[in-house]
Structure formats: structure tokens, C-alpha cells
Symmetry: none
Subunit: 215 residues, 4 copies
């Protein structure tokens, strides 16, 4: 129930979907993320959503279109904070250090990630098998984020905040460390007894200073 409310917020704000359509999407997200796209049947979705099989195809021409209609908007929203106008100025003024910037980014995207975990799981699972998704991800997510991140990274490099190293590598190290945190925290060991703030601090410290003991 709680999850359903959250999903509604994310998905249905400002969109005019019928009640049935919402049920279909909620049911599809649940099934796709539990069993995978290919292993989920439309009849199963229909049953879970409490609609007739035909109703799904009234709204989505094919099963794949249903998948895209779920994953695409989340992809768009995933990068939204990066495509703010005047982002650079804001950043420049507010975050003196790279780690301040990182912390802000992490806190900014955290809620979004938690809310959208099932859809993000579907996205990650299905990207390798669907050209449209892969294309969309590359063009509108990876590329966008990479380009904007590059600017910041180069900015902080020029300021002498961060090490001289290919920008690509810096972004990669940053990204994998943060994604690793999210996966560990929310996917692999959600039940563990986490001190979230401390773990984020550790992650940022690792990104900035690595594992070597200070001499």
C-alpha cells in the first residue's frame, strides 16, 4: 500500500491515466522486477491489476511498449537534476570542494533512487536486451550525465581540488563508488543495520582519500 502511493506520485503526477492504466503499470512494475520482463506474462499482469487481458492492449500496443512506458519516464527523471538551467553557476557558488558537490548529489538522488528501485532494477536488467532502451540510456542518460559531470570534474581539477587523471577515470571511480554504496545499502543488504550518514561519509572519504593510512 505504502509502495503504491509512492509509485503513484512518481508516475502519475500530471499524467492523465485512467485508474485501470495505473493498476496495470503498478502490476507490471511488480512482476517485471520480480521475474524479469520475458518471464512475465501479460495475463499475469492483467490478473494482478484486476483488469481484462484486452485492456492492457488497449493502452499499450505491445508488451514491449508497456515496458518502455515504465522505464522511459524514470530514465528521464533520473537525470533531471543534471539538466537544470544555470546548474553550473549554482554549483560554483555553493560547492567549494568536490566532496561537497558529491555529498549534495548523493542526497539529492537518494530519495529518487529509493522510490524507484523496482523500476531501476527493471531498467538495469532489460537494457542489455532491448536496443531502444540501450539507445535511450546511452543518449539521454549516460551521455548527458557524462558531459555534465565532465565539466564539474574539470572545474575541480583546475581548482586543484582533485588529482590529475583522465576525466573519464575520475567519473568512473566516483560513479562506481556511489553506485556500490546504493547497491549494498538498498539491493544486497537492505536488512542490515546501517548508519547511513556514516556510510555516506565513508564513501566520500574513500573517493577523496582512498584506503591508504595517513602517514
Amino acid at each position: 500500500m505504502a509502495e503504491q502511493n509512492i509509485l503513484k506520485e512518481m508516475f502519475f503526477d500530471g499524467e492523465d491515466l485512467t485508474e485501470k492504466q495505473r493498476q496495470i503499470i503498478i502490476a507490471a512494475i511488480e512482476s517485471f522486477s520480480e521475474k524479469g520482463f520475458a518471464a512475465t506474462s501479460t495475463s499475469e499482469i492483467a490478473k494482478k491489476a484486476g483488469v481484462a487481458e484486452g485492456t492492457i492492449f488497449r493502452h499499450y500496443k505491445t508488451k514491449k511498449e508497456l515496458l518502455l512506458s515504465i522505464v522511459s519516464p524514470v530514465m528521464s527523471k533520473l537525470i533531471s537534476p543534471f539538466i537544470m538551467k544555470d546548474l553550473y553557476k549554482v554549483i560554483d557558488q555553493r560547492y567549494e570542494k568536490y566532496e561537497d558537490f558529491l555529498r549534495a548529489m548523493i542526497y539529492n538522488r537518494k530519495e529518487f533512487l529509493i522510490k524507484n528501485l523496482p523500476v531501476l532494477k527493471i531498467m538495469v536488467q532489460e537494457i542489455p536486451f532491448h536496443d531502444e532502451l540501450r539507445e535511450q540510456f546511452k543518449e539521454h542518460v549516460a551521455k548527458e550525465i557524462y558531459q555534465r559531470m565532465s565539466k564539474f570534474v574539470e572545474h575541480y581539477k583546475q581548482k586543484g581540488e582533485i588529482i590529475e587523471m583522465p576525466t573519464f577515470s575520475i567519473i568512473r571511480f566516483t560513479a562506481t563508488s556511489i553506485i556500490g554504496h546504493v547497491l549494498a545499502r538498498y539491493v544486497f543488504f537492505p536488512e542490515a543495520n546501517w548508519d547511513d550518514e556514516a556510510e555516506i561519509d565513508r564513501t566520500i572519504h574513500f573517493i577523496m582519500h582512498g584506503l591508504a593510512a595517513k602517514q
Copy 2:
């Protein structure tokens, strides 16, 4: 063809499979990793392997059993260097510093990973959807590797080589950085113009010293 030879080495050393059985496994690996397990039909595998569909089921009672027979042995081999007897002594003598140990591990597993990329892709893709795989991975891969890594990490912590931080976090940071390297290098951008040695150096440097510029 080249790939087939590699697969043969990995899979068929010392096992007595019929020629048809080998063809089935090679075909299944190809299809599963390209389209996913659920989206691959047994008739497609049969056709690709050049056998009758019935032949598959003579050797593997179900499609799932075929999947497991592909993934399980690779899982076992994945951790084999970690379960060497007297590993600790060897390590202790040979690797004075944590980064030496890391470098050795990376080079040790590199060939294995490259050779088994398709099967590892299948493994990663299917673990979320098959209890048996998940259980097997947790019990025989994750747990084993974690326990042994813990010993090393604590060893280097005591030696004052690495920072005081929860062992779990240290392992996580180390693992995600290395996995991130492998994914970038072999999965996402295999075509790029890599200077492998330099990139491994950078990865290890990042793990040890982070991104902060030296003052």
C-alpha cells in the same frame, strides 16, 4: 571459432561430454547471454547446436537444468584462487603491501574473467530470478570470498598499511572499484583504446589514495 576453443578449454577439460552435448552448451551460452534465459527457446538452441530438440532434454531434464549446468561450474572456478591451501602464507610472504596483493589478484583473475565473460554475464543477469543460483552464489562465492578477503584486509590493517575503517566497507570499496574497471573495460567500452596497464595502475592508485590532490 576462437571463442569456441576458449569455451572448450574452460568447460570441457576432464569432463566426458558427447560432441552434441558440447554443441548444446556452446549454443546455449551464446543465446542466453545475447537474449537472456527466459527469452531463449530450446528450439533455437537446438537449431544453433545442430541437434534435435529432444537431444537437449536427453541430457538436461529441463531448460533450467541446462542453465545451472552452465553457470555452476563457472561459479566454482571463479573463487578457486581464493580457496588455495596455504594461501595466507603465500600472500604474507609475497605481498608486503595491500596494493601488491590487489595487483596480483587483478592479474590472476583477469584471464579467467575475459574467457568467461558470456557465462558471467548470464550469471549476473539470472541470479536475481533463480533461487538456486542466488543461494549458490551467496554460499559458495560471496561468503567464501568475503571471509578470505576479510583476513587479508585485517592483516593489512594491523600492519598499518590501510586505514581504520569497517572491513566490510573496505572490501566493498575495493571490489566495486575493480569490478567497475572490468565492466568499463570489457563490457561497456571494449572497443575503446585502452592502455590496460595504466588503467590498472590508476584503479589501484584510486583505491589506495583516492582522488584528492596531494598537498
Copy 3:
């Protein structure tokens, strides 16, 4: 065609089946009784019924469910005259002698048996191989009929109409004689030149007086 009409009457009175569903049942009865349940394929039924194979499984989850949906209602109707309320009173008033009762029963069930011969054949053939059918038959047919027959038999025994002998044996002799008549008449030699009334008389005479010549 004639047979189809009869089947419709028996099966579809008061039930709301689609036209296709009726065709499926009619085709299934024909095939099951001709070739046996296990030797009949669903594709054959579909073809004979003029529907797609998928249609069968829309209405009956499995082939076995289709079998049960055919046999079960006939089992129920088979015993219906025995479970009339106030049956005992009616009998008591109307049939002074056991043979009157027998004659009434035979004529009562005769039409039913003739109409349902194919389904009854399926029932008899498949009971040994399907636990559900066997259980259903034991609980709802054999037991019911036996209990009610017992009352009558004991009633006529007390009246001195019939011989002192275990009730079970009396019912058995009665039943096998009548069933033997039905089998001979309608199953083994339906083409023979029967004088139905005379044969029923003979059967009842045999039950009552046996084969011994009167001295």
C-alpha cells in the same frame, strides 16, 4: 447429429456454456469414448470441435480437468433418483414386491443410461486410472447407492419377500444382473434383435427365481 442433440439435453440444461465450449465437450466425449482418455490428443479434440487448441485450455486448465468436467456431472445425475426426499415412502406405498421395485428402477434409469452411454463408458474406463474419479465414484455413487439400496433390501427381507442372505450379496446379485443386461443390450450386442420387454422380464425373473426349473 441425433446424438449431439441428446448430449446437449443432458449436459447443457441450465448451464451457460459458450457454443465453442459445447463443441469441445461433444468432441471430447466422442474421442475419449472411442480411443480412451490417454490416447486422445487435445489437438484432435480441437480439430473435431472446430476450435483452436488454445480455446480448450481457456475453458479447462488441463486435459484432465476437461475429463472431470465431463464425467462428474454424469456421476451426480446417475444417482439422482436414489437421493429423492421421501423416496422411502413412495417406494413403500407403490411397490409391494421387490420385483416391482426392480422393474421401476430399471425403467427409470434406462433412458438415462442409453443417453449417457458414451460418458458412462469413459467413466468406467478411466476410474481405475484417476484417483479423483475413483474417490468421487466411491463417495458419491457407490456409497450412496449402497446405503439406500440396503434400506430397501432390508425392508423387503423383513416383509419376507426375499431370502435371508447378507444384504451385500443381495445387492451384488441384483446389480450385476441388471448391469449385465445393460452391457449385453447396449454395449456388446446393440445390433441384435432384442425384445426389450421380454428380456427385462427374464432378468427380473432370474433375479427373483434363479435358473432352477420349478418342480
Copy 4:
């Protein structure tokens, strides 16, 4: 084990079957009688018999031939006492009354029936579905028995022992009563607490004198 010995006696006396062949027949009888011919797979028989699948087809060209090789000899032996030479004389001298004859027949065939119950079950089950079996049964069992029984019945009718009634009916009543006994005793309620001699007496009494109380 005990059953296996009995089966061997019945089946394998004087026939030169290999050990494997015997195992196949024993396994086939068990499976056919438990699940029916059509629902039994040859691989199942092979497994139960402890032979390779191919071995079955070395001895029996088809699955059906295996069925016939099981049922046919039992059919032949079923009527063997009826086709004794000089049977009529023997009968004439030994059995003054029809019931003496019946009793002798029942005791004569009893052991045979018990020993061959599984095969007889197969025979009864499969006759409706296999023309060869039906033909064989009609020609070599039903017809033979009917013709010989006719002679006896007419003999006893002439002697005034039994009632004036069409011979066919007399045979039918006799047969169904006896078969009913066998089914009740050995098929439907083998576990019940039977007084065999008494029940046979009752059966013969019923055949001779029916159910009417003596006035």
C-alpha cells in the same frame, strides 16, 4: 517377489525367453495394469525392467506388439479347460446337476484368475481400443466359450435341470453372476473379510434359485 514367481510360471513355462525379456514383460504388466497401455511409456518400462530402451524394441517391434504378447497367451489359457477333448463325456458323467458343473468350473478357473489378475485387467481395459484384441477375444474366447457353454446348458435344459429360457440369456445370467463374484472378491474389495466357500455357495444358490424366499 512372490508375484514374480507366479508370473514366471504362467508366462515363461516352456518358452525360451531371455532374462531381459522376462523383466520387460513383468515390468510392462505392472505398468500397463496400473496406468493403462496408452499412459505407459516404453522408457518407463525399460527403467523398471532394468534394460536399455532399445532392448525392448529388439524383442518387440512396437509397443503394441508387446501388449499383444502379454495379453494373447492369457486369452488362450483362459479358455483352455473348455477346449479339452472329450470334455462332453467327462462332464456328462461327472456332473449330474448344473450347479455341480458350475461349482467345478468356478474352482477350476479360480486359481487361474487370481494369478492373472493384472493381465486380465489389461485385457479388459484395452479390448475396447484395439481391434486385434477385440477380434481375438471374440473369435477365440467369447465364441468358443459360448458354443461350448451352449451345449452344456442345452444338455441340462433337456434333462429338466434348468428352466426353459433362451440359452443366450441363461449363459449371460450365469456368467455375470460369476464374474460379479470375482470382481467383488478380487478387484473391488480384496481386503474385506471373505468366507470364500460360503460366498461361492451363495453365488451358485443365487444362480439356481434367485432371491425369492421359499414359500
